[in-house]
Symmetry: C2
Subunit: 279 residues, 2 copies
């Protein structure tokens, strides 16, 4: 497993650095994050458990609000507004997915950009596009940190992103463009995705489609970042047919243990940055 990018290892390094920074605050107010869950989505339960564990590990404060799945959008927005105005709250996360009667775009735009731990607010995203933001959507930021950790050259490299979601594909494309990569964003309408992918120096799959990326998509000098989070026959897997391509690429992230742990570390880095701006 020489060519594995171990996201768990690097996220632990980042979390330990955060822990040190929080220790240095001594008798100052500690950074605080509020996590809101609406309903009882099983995958969400798991993700939130991981987040709370990491928050506790580094010594931040955490408040977890589990709300009834029938809460109205109006009542949810009111809870968020109250948290926006609570000066000892530094970051607010509303765990996705939300029930169908609640519009996540509205929710994300109501979370103040000053408490936007996930980096989903339009102001944050506009600044991300402009290259002026200190807060970044956590998964894209985790991906870039992994590449930089492994000294994968971004500037001038040919990056192909499969997927164009608001939380991964699009912000990531903008961030990589700002780092002088040549970036191609593919979607379900793309013709010959394999041909396009095959020429990439860095291939990032965020399509949410198990076994999408096969040996036809890769080359020997490629770095693959697998952002997929799929369940197949009860087994958690990424977008990449890992066994098929692992030996045919330069570097690759596993699922689990690749991008996932990095997302949490970057989320908490956002909270720390928001805390610094808030105190």
């Amino acid at each position: 497993m020489q060519n594995l990018i171990d996201g768990k290892e690097y996220s632990n390094i980042l979390l330990n650095k955060l822990k040190e920074k929080i220790k240095e605050l001594k008798d100052k107010r500690l950074p605080k994050i509020v996590i809101i869950q609406v309903g009882n989505n099983l995958a969400s339960n798991k993700y939130i458990k991981h987040k709370i564990k990491s928050v506790e590990k580094i010594g931040m404060l955490c408040d977890f609000k589990k709300l009834d799945e029938n809460i109205t959008q109006k009542d949810l927005l009111e809870i968020i507004e109250n948290l926006n105005n609570d000066h000892i709250v530094d970051g607010i996360i509303v765990q996705l997915p939300l029930p169908n009667h609640i519009d996540s775009t509205v929710v994300n735009s109501v979370i103040s950009y000053k408490k936007d731990a996930d980096g989903f607010n339009p102001i944050t995203l506009g600044n991300v596009m402009l290259g002026t933001s200190k807060i970044f959507p956590a998964t894209p930021n985790g991906i870039i940190k992994l590449l930089e950790w492994k000294n994968v050259e971004i500037k001038g490299s040919n990056v192909v992103i499969i997927g164009r979601s608001n939380i991964v594909g699009k912000p990531l494309a903008n961030m990589l463009i700002n780092k002088s990569a040549t970036v191609t964003v593919c979607n379900t309408q793309t013709k010959n995705t394999a041909n396009i992918a095959k020429k990439a120096d860095i291939l990032i799959s965020a399509a949410g489609c198990a076994n999408l990326v096969t040996s036809e998509f890769v080359n020997k000098n490629m770095t693959i970042i697998d952002v997929g989070a799929n369940f197949v026959d009860g087994k958690y897997c990424g977008d990449v047919n890992f066994n098929e391509v692992q030996d045919n690429v330069k570097l690759i992230t596993p699922v689990p243990g690749g991008v996932g742990p990095m997302t949490i570390a970057c989320l908490l880095e956002n909270v720390y940055e928001l805390y610094l701006q808030n105190i």
Copy 2:
């Protein structure tokens, strides 16, 4: 000139539609735009003259403020804040470029997104990325309108953009991604730009570099949009070596008379939309 995309023709169509809409307002308050120029840049003088002429043609109100080039950033921001609070002002434009002592990113972020005629405010750009905006940066929007006017298929097409500015390349990329194109954004660090461009269905050059796009960049089925605005030996020209490629592509915009006039039409469409939101 069978394959020419006549931006002047289409912008006139759009401006006449706007003129009709403004006529229909009858005794209501008319939409008003304020154009601010700092200093006396000769190209800016020309662009502003065009804008004012178009504003007058369609019957909007226009206020032109020409400020001393030594005005402080603080004083300029104060003028903008006053316009933000003036309820009969619907759109504010600060003509770029600004003198070196003024930070255009700060200026654009201070213009309220509710009066953001140029579409440069971070909130506008974040919403553009998310696909929730009714206001768009004018040049990218003009490009997409030209493609749609000429029935050039965007969905599923392979689009290559040369240039990654905050006012053209990046917002345009996000807008085209939202329209299901496969989008590649090149920059000065890109290796083999010609090879990448050659495979495009739609090639958009916004590099600001005369004669960049030569016959090596094109194919017979390609639509070329030339966003360049360069002066060579006193002559205004685009990024494309027009004479060399014109007969080797399917459709092409001229410079002048292509994207330029569309920018003004889309700018005034923004002002009209902001007016509707403001009354």
